[in-house]
């Protein structure tokens, strides 16, 4: 009875908030707090030389999707923006699919090594991931440029006479993102494959399933949460990619990230940039929520 009315001392009840305060303060100032200001800025008027004028306007949001024709003032879709949205989405999707095609067998290979070797193979996957993204993008650039190793090699072998223009194309961006984000696909798939019970595979073989059917009907469905996680982990940074399209797309092949940057540089339209940033954030958050739901649903069935 005494226990029920016993209240713990103040320090014990609130100590976690004291402990949390430094981290939360830093994150508030330099991570999630400023996001609200972005939202506010997206409803302001653009200043002539960058910055904003503090008066309410929905122009930025309007301009995200539509534009007024310069000559006859008619309304139309913002084709340039939509093209960039589409390229971002398409490149991110293709990157994700190709990463899955390469990443799943790689994760499978690692998960089927003897337990002692697995961490070492995973380290081999993770080392490039923890090295500078810019450097890895630069490494790809050197590989595929006109004077790069791939073209030099092909020309030396006589396969081609002229270098193939690979740099500054969508293909280059896709290859770059694939290279940079592949470990993010391998990691969660490996995690679910490592937990995977190969007795299920034996059971399927025992019940007359051949190799392909074992893969399609048992291994892939059971490891689906890992596959979804990996796909989302690749898709999200690919949608928001900035460095890779800038270096490998050469400024002409823009993705959403570059379009946003443009508004704060030459474009001098901060509200539009802010609105575009919010659009990107919404897309990313929506796909994340979708993932958590999907993974949760799957996970519940596994017990």
């Amino acid at each position: 009875m005494a226990d029920a009315t016993y209240t713990r001392p103040f320090s014990e009840r609130y100590s976690h908030w004291i402990l949390l305060s430094p981290a939360l303060l830093i994150l508030f100032v330099a991570a999630f707090g400023p996001l609200f200001i972005v939202l506010i800025y997206s409803f302001l008027t653009a200043g002539d030389y960058g910055g904003v004028v503090w008066s309410f306007s929905t122009d930025a949001w309007f301009n995200v999707f539509a534009e007024r024709d310069m000559f006859d003032d008619t309304l139309g879709f913002a084709d340039a923006h939509l093209a960039i949205f589409w390229r971002s989405f398409r490149l991110a999707a293709v990157t994700t699919v190709v990463a899955l095609i390469f990443g799943f067998p790689t994760a499978y290979f690692i998960a089927t090594r003897p337990p002692k070797q697995r961490n070492l193979w995973m380290l081999l996957i993770m080392v490039p991931f923890w090295t500078n993204l810019l450097i890895r993008t630069f490494a790809i650039m050197e590989l595929i440029r006109n004077e790069g190793v791939v073209n030099s090699l092909l020309m030396a072998m006589g396969v081609i006479n002229e270098p193939i223009q690979m740099l500054y194309t969508d293909f280059a961006i896709m290859i770059g993102m694939l290279y940079v984000y592949l470990p993010l696909m391998v990691l969660p798939i490996y995690a679910s494959l490592e937990r995977f019970d190969f007795a299920l595979v034996e059971a399927a073989y025992d019940l007359y399933a051949n190799r392909l059917r074992v893969l399609w009907r048992v291994i892939l469905p059971v490891t689906k949460p890992g596959i979804i996680a990996g796909s989302i982990l690749v898709m999200i940074p690919a949608l928001g990619a900035y460095v890779t399209p800038r270096v490998l797309g050469g400024g002409k092949r823009m993705m959403l990230g570059n379009l946003i940057e443009l508004q704060f540089g030459q474009g001098r339209n901060w509200p539009l940039g802010a609105a575009l940033a919010i659009v990107l954030l919404i897309i990313v958050t929506a796909s994340m929520i979708y993932y958590v739901r999907a993974a949760g649903k799957e996970g519940a069935g596994h017990g």
Binding site: L200, A203, Y205, D206, L207, Y208
Partner: protein, 359 residues
């Protein structure tokens, strides 16, 4: 009919080589409930997996109705397995699990669904057909695993310690159930267990295994009453071992002069009519009390402990040569235990009951 013909299996190589099966030969008959019994690591599961196709034997042949199995991958063998932890597909319902094999055999949809219904009925799981396998109890998962393995109507059903994950009561119930299913389906069951009680209660025949070899094959009665080797006698039930020398022998029986004093007429192992020093196995319930040092008494000793077990009373005795001897008497309403600790008693063993072991 499954013929296992000189099968050996060596895992690894060189110094790390481990022999899991050492030249094993046995024939499993049609429609038989056949049990592989032995301690863990004896090779019983390896033998089962060799039949299922998950192990290629290093040497020897496995044939099913005269057809070679070794060259077939698991998915082409008319053999299904109930796995130790069931290995039910977590992403499928109970009904989908049961229908999986038939689906892989590309059977028509109508046939699959009617067989699934039949199987659900057979294992009394019709009400659970739509459940996920994680939503049902261990005993129910066991039934689903059985139904799933039986659905394609295999020629042989392999069961790898399927009852070990269940609690005592469920296990008892499933033993009866398994026996019923085997009778109803007429499928050959090959059952792996380390539980002697399970083996004795369900099997038509038992193969006792140890150290990668089959030591004895026989009916539960033969295995229990007439163990051929010390390991078999020790592994199944409780046994007293008496050392002695064969003084006289015919085809099946011999007279043994025991080191503890007295003579006993015991069964001789097949094909070993030799003389010399032998071990005689006597079950605790094969002996009774009599007056000490009388003509009736095979050996004599003193009572060192009495344990009342409800149905039986268990006596720990010390023979005159100092060796222990266990004796069990069944309790009846009108008999009451007269022997007390410290009493000197005689032990009578009827002729032809005890078994001389192979050495």
């Amino acid at each position: 009919m499954i013929e296992i013909d000189g099968v050996s299996k060596v895992f690894g190589s060189g110094v790390q080589a481990f022999t899991a099966l050492d030249n094993v030969s046995v024939t499993i008959r049609e429609n038989e409930f056949f049990t592989l019994l032995g301690p863990s690591g004896c090779g019983k599961t390896t033998l089962l997996r060799t039949i299922a196709g998950f192990n290629a034997p290093t040497n020897g042949a496995v044939r099913l109705d005269g057809q070679d199995l070794v060259s077939l991958p698991p998915y082409k063998r008319p053999v299904n397995t109930v796995f130790q932890n069931y290995a039910l597909f977590p992403h499928m319902t109970v009904a989908e699990n049961i229908g999986f094999g038939l689906e892989m055999l590309n059977r028509p949809k109508a046939e699959i669904s009617s067989t699934v219904d039949q199987m659900l009925d057979l294992v009394q799981m019709t009400a659970m057909a739509g459940r996920r396998t994680s939503e049902i109890s261990g005993g129910q998962q066991q039934r689903v695993a059985l139904a799933r393995a039986l659905a394609p109507r295999p020629k042989v059903l392999l069961l790898d310690e399927p009852l070990s994950a269940l609690d005592y009561k469920l296990r008892k119930g499933m033993q009866v159930e398994l026996k019923r299913l085997q009778n109803e389906t007429g499928i050959t069951f090959v059952f792996v267990t380390h539980d002697q009680e399970e083996a004795l209660s369900m099997s038509d025949r038992i193969a006792v295994m140890n150290h990668a070899q089959i030591l004895q094959v026989g009916s539960p009665h033969e295995i229990y009453e007439h163990p051929s080797e010390r390991f078999v006698a020790e592994f199944i039930g409780e046994t007293n071992f008496l050392i002695g020398t064969v003084t006289q022998a015919d085809e099946t029986q011999g007279s043994v002069a025991l080191d503890a004093g007295g003579n006993i007429v015991a069964r001789l192992p097949q094909g070993e009519g030799g003389m010399g020093q032998v071990t005689v196995a006597v079950r605790p319930e094969q002996a009774t009390f009599c007056a000490p040092d009388s003509g009736e008494a095979t050996v004599s000793g003193t009572v060192s402990n009495v344990v009342y077990l409800g149905t039986d009373t268990h006596f720990h005795l010390t023979l005159d040569d100092g060796n222990p001897f266990a004796l069990r008497l069944q309790n009846t309403p009108d008999n009451s235990v007269q022997q007390k600790v410290g009493d000197r008693i005689g032990i009578a063993i009827a002729p032809g009951v005890a078994q001389v072991l192979k050495d």
